[in-house]
Structures are given as C-alpha cells and as structure tokens.
Amino acid sequence: MNLLLEILSIPLVQTILKIVFMIMLFAMPLGTLMTLMERKWSAMVQDRVGPNRANVGSFRGHGLAHIAADGLKSIFKEDTMPEGSDRFLYLIAPFFGLIAGVSVFAIVPIAAPIGSFTFQITDIEPGLLFIFAITSLSVYGAVLAGASSNSKFALLGGTRASAQMISYEVFMGLALMGIFMVYGSTRVSEIVDGQNAYWFGSLIPKWGILTQPLGFLLFTTALVAETKRAPFDAPEGESEIVAGYFLEYSGMRWSAFMLAEYVAIVGVAALVTTLFFGGYHVPWLHLWESAPEWLVRVLQFAKFTAFVVFFCWFQIQLRWTVPKFRFDQTMALGWKKLLPLSLANTVATAAVILIFV
C-alpha cells in the first residue's frame, strides 16, 4: 500500500495516468461516440431512423454496435496508395491531425486541484498560445495529404483547406485577446479561476460568454472553420470535390483522418467550455460550504463533461442549421467581416477595461 502511494507520488507516473485518462478514457471514447451521435442526429433531423441494424447476438443498443462494426470493417479494408503519389508524404499526412487532436487536451483542466495535484495534464505559462501553435500543425496534415495523392480533387481540397485554415487562424488569435485582457493571463488555470468570480455579490458568474460575448461567437466560428466542418466544409465538399484532401485514402488510414476530425470536435467543445463557460467551475457551488471535497470534484467533472457533450451536439446541430458556404463566401466572411470585427472587439475591450477598471 505504501509502495503504491510512493509510486503514485512520482510526477511522471501522475502525468502518464492523467494522459491515459484524458485521451483513452475521455477524448477517444467521446470522439468514437460522436461518430454514432452524428449519424443518429443527422437521421433524426432528416426524419429517418438512422443506423440500427448491426448487432452482437441480439444486442443492438440503438446502433451502438455500429461503432464496433465500423471499426472492424475499416481494419479489413484494403489500404490503397494511388499511382505516382509521394510515398513518404502520403504516409505521414494522417499523423498531423491526430497529433494536433490529442495535444489540445494537454491544457484542459477537468476539476479543481487538490493540494499540488492538478486535474490538468500540464499548466504551461503560454497556455493558449500553445493551442494556436498546435492547431496550425493540423494544416500540414490537410496540405500534405492533398499534395501527395497525385489526384486533382485531393489537391483542390488540400489548397482550399490550407487557405481556409490559415485565414481563420488569424482572427482566432485576435478573438481570444479579449479573454486574455479580461482575465489578465494566457495561462488556462488563471483564466478558469478568473471565471469563478461573481457580479453583484454572488448573483451572476463572470463567465467568458458574459464578459466576451462577441469573442465567444468569433472564436467558436474560427474553431469550427479550423475543423473544416459544415458550414465551412468547402475543403471536403462532397458534392463538388468528392472528399477533398483525403479522397485517395482508404481503410485504416482513412479512419485515422476521421478519428482526428472527431477528436478535434471534442477538443473544440472542451476549449469553448474552458474559456467561455467557466471550465470545471460549478456556479454558486461555493454557497454550499459543507460540501465534501470529493463530491465537489465529482460535480465539477460532471459539469465539465455535460458542457463538452452539449457543444459536441451543438456542432452537429450547426451542420444541419446553417446552409453550407461556398468557398469564396467562406474567405470573404473571414477576411472582410470577422477579421475587422475581432480587431474592433480587441480595441473596445481594451478601452472598456482601462476606463472602468
């Protein structure tokens, strides 16, 4: 027992346990469930039943068996490589998306720290600047996949993806400047703790959505555009360029792209929750002073998970609510509307802070 506690107190062991929990037990299962969630909710929107036929014995679980069936199916599919493709680039392209997808979870806290033990993989000083750096890494995945496939459609998708992603990256950084100003830090733990304060005694929590409503809209738009999902799915537009940059991929490498996309969706939801909806902080919980510490942590994790699931659903619903943009509309929206808006938001936030605080 003592030996076990001693092993558990080694920082590296704690880090590895946190990573195993965040990636293997939180992000990946949620990402895999999202594949079914998306199909089921799309069916619901279109007044269909959706996938429900796969079964294990007599167990169907409203389509849950489809997750295992899809996985097995893609394992036993042929992994093709088109003629004349750049073999090395074609091989490494799926890696970037997954690296970027899992790295986002490095800075997301899921509950308040106990003593010196944090429920966050690492709390680095640059915090969100690290996120900007790592999300731009996923541009490489799309570009390399498009450029190495020796296919016109893939190349079209790759160039579109690169142009769209770098355009929306510009004001993704600008949109968050308001948050940095209000909470005075780029460190995630400080931003989350800053959202635990209240206006008017303990009436309204100072969540990011209330201090930075425009910043929330801009940042969420930028993140959705970064994941290349509808309504910003011109790089993968099924009706014009088939599947875009990963058109030539098949079997498990295609699954790697899809998994990266769904993990990215969960990452987006986790980031939005952390920055604009108080992270793990349950509002008004401090009023219950006699709450046991473990119950507080459990409630915080439950609140965080609930918000993450909600924003995962929100992204699916967005796909079925907003009509798809043409590529030129996507670019015009980014450069001509959202970029000036986020600049104005930054300036206005700075002025308001200096005048009133």
Binding site: V170, M252, M331
Partner: protein
C-alpha cells in the same frame, strides 16, 4: 516547476498522437487485403482513367492569401504581451497599441482595395 516538468507531458502527448496514427497505419497495412489492380491504383477521376497532373495550375489567389496571412499572423503575435499586461501598461500601452493596430488596419484596407481579398 521546471521546463522539463511542464513540457515533458506535451512531448509524451505528441508521442501518443504519433503512436496512434502509427498503430492505425500498421494495422491497415498488415491486416488489410492486398489485391492491387491497375484501375484501383489509378487516382480517382470520376470513373475515367486520369491524364495525370501535368498542366495543373493553382489559382494565384492561394498565394495571395498566404502572403496576407503571413503579414497579419506575425503582426498579431506582437499584441499578445500587451493583452496580458493591459492594466499595468495603462493608457500609454493603449495608445502605443492603437498606433500599431492602425498600421495593421491600413495594411488590411490596402489589401482590400487592391483586391487581394476578392474571390470572385
């Protein structure tokens, strides 16, 4: 907290990402069938045999976008130190940043006027 303690987890996470993608690639290559035919190996071209990529041209717009992005993204990086220190720097920092942002806005207006942001 030292550099190693803070940044080692990120290195491990990157390795996890590489491991996952590597596992996927290897499983696909080992388990999947290998029944290559000429038609299957050809790049997708809506059912025809393609003529290859010769003579394919990019739109110059993509290069323009990359250029504009480069200028903006690098300039925006200079604003981050001001955003976290805004209360300490006060109005002096605000005016200094406004001068900087106005240069940025003039650049944006110039790009706009020159048509670098137009996509027909």
């Amino acid at each position: 907290m030292t550099i190693t303690n803070d940044y080692l987890p990120i290195l491990i996470l990157i390795l996890v990402g590489i491991g996952l993608a590597g596992m996927f690639t290897i499983i696909g290559l080992v388990v999947g069938p290998k029944l290559r035919t000429r038609e299957k190996a050809a790049p997708f071209e809506s059912g025809f045999l393609g003529k290859g990529m010769e003579g394919y041209r990019y739109d110059v717009k993509f290069f323009m976008t990359a250029l504009v992005f480069l200028v903006f993204d690098v300039e925006i990086v200079f604003l981050y130190p001001w955003t976290v220190q805004i209360r300490e720097l006060g109005w002096f920092g605000f005016v200094a940043s406004m001068v900087f942002i106005s240069v940025l806005v003039i650049g944006l207006a110039y790009d706009w006027k020159k048509g670098a942001l137009e996509w027909e």
